[in-house]
């Protein structure tokens, strides 16, 4: 095995890891603010991919240019899901919360199949198509652009949370609902906002992925388990944690695939997940167990 192959693999691991991070940031935000595990999160990503695809197929608009639109649409969908469904189960038993989001997952997949058929679709000839030479490494341009895009979106979310009043209110709700309410923060508005931003992050990841990943109704399944791992590893509710954990998981996945065999790469990530759950349930950067 050459050093070049190793570096090449490492780089592709970092790039896919950045996408994992973006998906996981949305998931961790919803969990942090509302204590709900969103099993339908991969479907937000899937819908983001289809949004990019249809804007490209019907109006010949490039996924990179329509990314803000995709993000807006998914934000609206996230808020809508919260308003119509999640709001009603905010105080329900944990089991029924799990089944609500699981039902949503099935519902979105079913609807995607109903309207858009189960076919694999791809976007050919996007602005991102092609390859790049980077310090002697051959990388796909779509992957590099997606990785950079993921960094930009993550930075924007971080900036929002830590440098704006609304973001501070969201953080306050996440750390102590009751106290935040006493300070005059409308916690229901914050819940809706968390769902909007959470779905928007997944949608952004979907839009960035759409230039190089096949688009089909079940595509979310490929990302949801990994996103759970990343959220745990980074610590539930921690955006910065999810970012670093995403990169770490991406690298471990491709390196494991290279060293042990690509068919076991998911298993390797899951074993790591179990190990972290057992020995450090608060995650690598989480504050409380």
């Amino acid at each position: 095995m050459t050093a070049e192959l190793l570096l090449q693999t490492l780089a592709s691991g970092v790039l896919i890891g950045l996408i994992y991070a973006l998906v996981a940031i949305g998931l961790t935000m919803i969990f942090g603010v509302m204590d709900i595990v969103n099993f339908a999160h991969g479907e937000f990503l899937m819908l983001g991919m289809y949004a990019s695809f249809w804007l490209f197929a019907l109006f010949a608009l490039d996924p990179l240019l329509t990314l803000p639109l995709t993000v807006l649409m998914l934000f609206a969908l996230g808020v809508l899901v919260w308003k119509l469904v999640i709001r009603r189960i905010a105080d329900a038993p944990a089991l029924s919360q799990i089944f609500t989001t699981f039902g949503l997952m099935l519902l979105f997949r079913g609807l995607a199949q109903f309207f858009w058929k189960p076919d694999y679709r791809t976007i050919e000839g996007s602005l991102a198509a092609g390859g790049v030479q980077l310090a002697g490494l051959q990388l796909g341009r779509p992957q590099v652009i997606a990785g950079l895009g993921a960094i930009v979106v993550t930075a924007a979310v971080w900036f929002f949370l830590h440098r704006t009043r609304l973001g501070a209110a969201l953080e306050a709700t996440a750390s102590d609902k009751e106290a935040a309410r006493l300070m005059g923060i409308d916690s229901h508005r914050m819940f809706g906002l968390a769902w909007g931003i959470g779905a928007a992050c997944a949608g952004a990841a979907g839009g960035l992925l759409s230039t190089f990943f096949p688009i089909f109704p079940e595509v979310g399944a490929n990302f949801i388990l990994v996103a759970f791992v990343v959220v745990n590893l980074g610590g539930f509710g921690s955006v910065a944690g999810a970012f670093w954990a995403g990169i770490l998981v991406g690298v471990i996945e491709v390196m494991g695939g290279l060293l042990i065999g690509p068919q076991y790469k998911t298993a390797i990530v899951l074993v790591l997940f179990l190990a972290v759950l057992m020995f450090r349930p608060q995650g690598l950067m989480g504050k409380t167990a």
């Binding site: 969990f31 329900a92 029924s96 079913g110 759970f228 899951l270």
Partner: protein
């Protein structure tokens, strides 16, 4: 009619059903409903009574199916013996499963169980000896009770009914014994249970082993009925979720809740499939999923749970309680742990 008499009547009607329903496709729906009910009841032991919401039960189911099938195909074992062996193997595996998941609580536990089952599925997908992704086929050359292979669907119906009866009997025995109290204590008041000396880790494991045993037996039955298994059909996460769903829909921690939930779920699934499945557009999935969401949102304690709560509320009102006290009494019967962030309202 009192409870034992109505149970006897329902049981007799269930046994006699294949004499009335002759249409093979309807009989098949009945078999599917019974098998789903049995799995829901098995899940209920650990997920309902002990409150440990596993979404990894497909691992036990798959182990049962693979154990009996491999023993039959490669060693010529009798499937009845294979079923027993699969159950024991799954119960043994549940010790590893429990060791890796039980130190976690709530969401963490549930996600760990998904991960364990997913790892098992990946292993079987790549294990050449177990047929890898292609799966295993059971030959049809020997038929009859001893070989547990039948040309007639009715035989599978009675087999599934028998296994369901056994599972419910075991659940009933657990409910009545000290185990039932321990399980409920683990679910509702783990700290109090620990303080009076209940070995929580041990009894969680007891619940899981029992549940794993019966789940694996259901897996063996599936293999003998379909005569073909592969990782996608016996180890998928969707299966784990269906088992739990039957119990949740009917009412967790109730004896007959999973049966009711499984019958309703199977009917919804099969009816929407036969009505819309031909389109190949997933209309059946849309209807099925929409119903799951509606039930989870509007009837979070399940069908039986909802009925019980209503009855308790009525009783309390009749006994002269205020509407608020009656509501508390109703909440008390639902048998579901409140969400982590919800303050537990003081009961009566």
């Amino acid at each position: 009619m009192n409870r034992p008499a109505s149970l006897l009547a329902a049981g007799a009607a269930a046994v006699a059903l294949p004499f009335v329903v002759r249409d093979p496709s309807w009989l098949n729906v009945a078999v599917l409903a019974l098998m789903a009910a049995q799995l829901g009841a098995a899940w209920n032991l650990v997920g309902g009574y002990a409150g440990q919401a596993s979404l990894g039960h497909a691992a036990f189911y798959g182990l049962g199916a693979y154990a009996s099938t491999l023993l039959l195909v490669n060693f010529g074992w009798n499937p009845w013996l294979g079923m027993l062996a699969g159950g024991v193997l799954a119960a043994a595996f549940s010790a590893l499963f429990g060791w890796s998941c039980f130190r976690l609580k709530g969401h963490y536990f549930t996600m760990a169980t998904i991960a364990v089952a997913e790892i098992v599925q990946i292993v079987f997908n790549n294990w050449e000896y177990a047929g890898a992704a292609v799966g295993l086929t059971i030959p049809m050359d020997r038929q009859g009770l001893a070989a547990m292979v039948f040309a007639d669907k009715a035989a599978y119906y009675w087999l599934a009914l028998g296994l369901l009866a056994l599972t419910l009997l075991a659940t009933f025995a657990v409910e009545r014994s000290f185990l039932g109290y321990y399980f409920r204590a683990i679910k509702d008041e783990p700290d109090a249970a620990r303080s009076i000396g209940v070995d929580i880790a041990r009894y969680k494991q007891v619940a899981l082993s029992l549940s794993a045993f019966f789940t694996a037996a259901g897996g063996s039955l599936y293999a003998q009925k379909e005569l073909y298994i592969d990782p996608a059909s016996v180890l998928s996460t969707a299966l784990s979720i269906k088992m739990a769903l039957a119990a949740i829909l009917g009412g967790v921690g109730t004896l007959f809740g999973p049966v009711l939930g499984a019958v309703v779920l199977t009917l919804i699934e099969e009816l929407s499939r036969s009505a819309f499945g031909g389109s190949g557009r997933g209309t059946d999935t849309v209807i099925y999923a929409a119903l799951i969401v509606l039930v989870a949102v509007f009837q979070p304690s399940g069908i039986l749970g909802g009925l019980k709560a209503r009855a308790a509320r009525r009783r309390a009102l009749r006994a002269g309680a205020s509407p608020a006290q009656a509501d508390a009494a109703a909440r008390d019967t639902t048998g579901l742990a409140p969400a982590a962030h919800e303050s537990t309202g003081a009961p009566l």
